[in-house]
Symmetry: C2
Subunit: 632 residues, 2 copies
């Protein structure tokens, strides 16, 4: 875990505290079945009550008209209320006590319904508390009612709106806008800043939207069919995650006309465009915040969570310049939803949602409804730097989440060489078994918040190519962080930066002769492979062989189940939709003998990969850190 | 937890290590559904495989004829084998990885079948490991197969043989035989030992079986209908848990004729008799052990688990004088089963099973079959000093377990006053919700392995009476440790003993004027209450009222479900089978107002308990640490 990705769960102590807190509390934590209900499906909601919460009753309050549910003591003041049924108790050795379980089932709903709900539990209320000796403590009052998950509001949106089909075929190119390309009017990229002082990573390098538009042919030639642009709204920083106006474009980056031009040019090439959207926080320079802190009667004061006005308020990881937005305030929420709708109306194709665990859970149901209404084909996925169970809690709210757990596997196995092939294979099997296929999991090797993969791999291009081969032959839509495809690395570890921001992995794009054309060519062939073989985007995957050094898997349009039975099925040589991927993760050459006749080479990461089909089996020779794709 | 009951799980660190080990391993841990199958029911078996075990296949091996299953690589050599199906993966934040789940379902079986089984998992075997470069590592061999739970054998016995009905009505009197009564030929109890040196707790005090027989009228007058005798087999110690011959009686305690006389006299009074049976270990003086360590070719060598013959072997908590018996050895197992059968044939009515987690899990299925065959009405319950989930793993193997978790609640709430009434009420609700009603849970306030309750309560008789009132009005059959009913306590904490044995709680029975007759009378009325009101043994229980000080519950022949609905049902004054129990756990008087008219007093722990029925409610005044039982 010295890769510093899951900071909030980096140590045993942090993990234990996390688990204890969850089990000890009054916890719903998105326990919905199904999480993404179709019209007409009832939805069950579960609650657990830790040993120290002496609650023996629980209720759900909900509305079906978008309003906030309200009520107390199990009686609705707005919307509906229903008691939850106790479904048992479970012993918890860690907490040394029993957790209670409750369940309630909400009735089926028609398409387009947004159910917003809260859950509350109360102690000692099997009968009214009519203690004569302490008459003040009478009845079930809101004072004795405890709302689950610290009062969280939840919601779900009932619709038959699966992830758009194009998203599963996506090859995403992530562009850090300030660092990708100067506008076409500038003759040479990345000149020196004024005064000859040299660049620092937090400088404005000058990349623009028009610079991207000018390089769409490059992007198209790479094979990417989706762009993800880091934030383009007005912002005082080079990264833009502290925007001050979600309805405008940062002038340094361009104009709405520039974005229009980019969208039109991209769409003309079959390339879709995603924006980066931070719903949790924005800049303290935002006009509403400035008004909220300078005017005690500001209409915007409730847009923020002031703990002591005006100086103390909730903010992103305590950074004062990034106030957290109170999305439970209807006006603030509507403002945010309007912003999301506005750019979809403008023509963008979806959103990468920054820090998606930040906003109140019910916001994402509103977000889904609004975004789908404004663009039924939009693709939305979250940045959720949390384990898989937390990621999956976004099912039904977003189309999916960036696959941070697979990222960890990629880096452990391919960049650091800490996991051998067998361990990676096993992890991959379990990881894929955990998620339903409908949950979109864009895969990536690195991004702007961590060391670039090539840096983490000690500059070893073979490791990068092998990892990329794996990434492009798994079902998650691959994301390529700008420059990775041409060997862009960094000069020092991101943790050696001076401002706690991983700026080192945001060096400017390499152009012209600075590019590693061999690597670029390999990436182009990877993208072409994926485009040519839809089985890589949509097929099943099964590990065919693994040992400590080598992992071989097959992608296919369908394996019969159960797996044990499928394992004995030999590969049919006439099945051209099958692809075999062989990866040697070790630094020594390896030869393995595989079932099936695999006779057609498709792609290799390096010369020296050899295969010898012989009757019903194939011998495969792989040089160190090399991989190959074969067809029957 | 300074009561030192759950020593192996006494600290956070121990609990965490326990949980990590279970989740990290290849673990079945009695995960059977149902755990106590009826004839004709299929049985599902679950397996979890921790993140570090790279196993993607699992099998179950089983027999239906009592023999040991055998096989490898999923192929049976004796009995049957079947693959388990992968049923998913679960993220585990504590282990930071995925656990895999497997499941297999065994076919329905006729009554009287004993299914013995093992589960194994194997790594990387989706296809044969035909790695050409390392040909020695080929095929699925037993070397790569890992058996669940460190190789444990499991078994279950298919029968429709619920816990005998009389057990639910039992009032058990636990007699530590050496300390209860001298034989009737001795005129006065507990004279001084020879030499005038005074007693030490590990002396032989001289209690006998005939001494018990002589006092059966006392026991009958107490209202007990079951005796549990601590071990009576030949043994070098005062406690007998290190017996050397399971087919004889310790001469100090008496003869088979004395036991016959005791059984006859007890049965004539409607009192059943349970023996204490230690299947895990016996004395190093046992003839088979002496032969095993002195004769390298001993037929008994396999009756023990020698790690280095003859000096190193498995033993009870490492105590060399208590060698653990290898019950996987067929002859040793049969010897133990014969002993259990022999005393049932002799006339005893069941067993308290000492340290029931010690023997291999499959032994208890054999034990159940044999004991039920020799006495279909026998009652068996285990001493399992473990949390509730582990206790419940004995479902289907024994009739139940001594209720150690309720013991903890009794002592925390009533002896130490650490839990207030509300916390105890909540704990009780969850505890009862956790266990199926069919699982027998004898309740107790203390036993021979811990400080007596009265000592723990600082000698406060009110606390003891209140706890006993609660104990006798819950559904678990109450166990009274000899002397508790007459105020027997101790002179110092058990942990101040000199030999690591809690001898201090084994002082000799009080007789004659030494008895607290007020307390004895109270216990007699408690037993009469339970005998007169079967609803206390068999009825439902519902908390009617609780606050920090007072707990009130109702026992009834049946509450309508769900509980939320029942809570609004007023008590019908014409329902004489209902009993209300009110307990003031605080040291100040309290008045509470209760729904229903409760007009008939049945029993109170102290004077001063007042009740005032008034229309549809009743006002109840309880002095400090006092309790009352009322009828409508």
């Amino acid at each position: 875990m010295d890769d510093f990705i899951f900071g909030t769960l980096a140590t045993d102590d942090l993990r234990l505290a996390h688990i204890k807190a969850r089990r000890a509390g009054i916890t719903h934590n998105h326990a919905r079945t199904p999480r993404d209900p179709l019209p007409g499906q009832p939805v069950s909601l579960d609650l657990t009550v830790g040993p120290a919460h002496l609650c023996d009753q629980a209720w759900i309050y909900w509305t079906d008209d978008g309003s906030d549910p309200a009520g107390e003591g199990g009686v609705a003041r707005r919307g509906f209320a229903a008691p939850m049924e106790q479904t048992g108790a479970e012993w918890d050795t860690l907490l040394w006590g029993y957790t209670r379980r409750f369940r309630a089932t909400l009735p089926p709903q028609p398409a387009g319904t947004l159910i917003r709900y809260r859950i509350a539990a109360a102690p000692g209320v099997q009968t009214p508390r009519r203690n004569v000796s302490t008459p003040d403590d009478a009845g079930v009052s809101s004072a004795t009612e405890i709302f689950a998950d610290n009062g969280a509001y939840y919601a779900f949106y009932v619709a038959d709106d699966p992830t758009p089909a194009w998203a599963q075929d996506a090859i995403v190119y992530q562009i850090f806008v300030d660092r990708f390309s100067l506008p076409p009017s500038v003759s040479s990229q990345w000149g020196e800043p004024e005064g000859g002082r040299g660049w620092t990573p937090s400088d404005f390098y000058g990349g623009t939207l028009s610079g991207i538009t000018a390089n769409l042919d490059y992007i198209a030639s790479l094979g990417a069919n989706v762009l993800w642009l880091t934030p383009i709204f007005p912002s005082p920083s080079h990264h833009g995650y502290d925007a001050a106006d979600y309805f405008e474009i940062e002038p340094r980056l361009g104009t709405k006309a520039d974005l229009r031009a980019l969208l039109d040019a991209a769409h003309a090439r079959g390339i879709r465009v995603l924006l980066d959207f931070a719903a949790n926080h924005w800049s303290s320079g935002h006009a509403t915040f400035q008004d909220a802190i300078s005017n005690a009667y500001s209409q915007y004061r409730e847009w923020y969570n002031f703990t002591r006005w005006p100086e103390a308020y909730e903010s992103f990881f305590g950074v004062k310049s990034l106030p957290q937005i109170n999305l439970r305030n209807p006006a603030a929420r509507q403002h945010m939803l309007d912003a999301a709708a506005c750019w979809l109306d403008f023509g963008v194709d979806g959103y990468r949602l920054d820090y998606a665990i930040g906003p109140t859970p019910d916001f994402w149901a509103d977000f889904r409804r609004v975004t789908r209404q404004h663009n039924p084909e939009c693709w939305t996925f979250g940045e959720v730097v949390e384990p898989s169970d937390r990621q999956l809690s976004f099912e039904g709210l977003l189309d999916g989440c960036l696959d941070f757990m697979l990222l960890e596997g990629f880096r452990q196995a391919f960049a650091f060489g800490r996991w051998d092939a067998h361990r990676f294979a096993d992890y991959l099997d379990r990881h894929e078994a955990f998620f339903p296929p409908s949950f979109s999991r864009p895969s990536f090797l690195d991004n702007h918040d961590m060391n670039r993969f090539l840096w983490a791999a000690g500059g070893n291009i073979s490791r990068l190519k092998l990892a990329a081969l794996c990434q492009f032959t798994l079902s998650g839509p691959p994301v390529v962080y700008y420059g990775t495809e041409v060997g862009l690395s960094q000069e020092r570890d991101v943790r050696q930066g001076t401002r706690g921001i991983p700026e080192e992995s945001r060096l400017p794009m390499l152009w012209g002769e600075a590019q590693d054309t061999n690597l670029l060519d390999f990436y182009r062939r990877l993208a072409a492979l994926r485009t040519t073989h839809p089985v890589l985007c949509r097929g099943d995957r099964r590990t065919l062989y693994t040992d400590d050094a080598v992992l071989v898997y097959v992608r296919s349009d369908g394996f019969s189940r159960p797996a044990a039975e499928a394992a004995t099925t030999s590969v049919r040589s006439d099945d051209l939709s099958r692809l075999l991927v062989g990866l040697n993760l070790s630094d020594t050459p390896h030869t393995v003998d595989l079932p099936g006749a695999w006779s057609s080479p498709i792609l290799a990461t390096a010369p020296g990969c050899e295969f010898h089909p012989d009757g019903d089996h194939t011998t495969l020779n792989l040089p160190p850190l090399a991989g190959i794709v074969l067809q029957p």
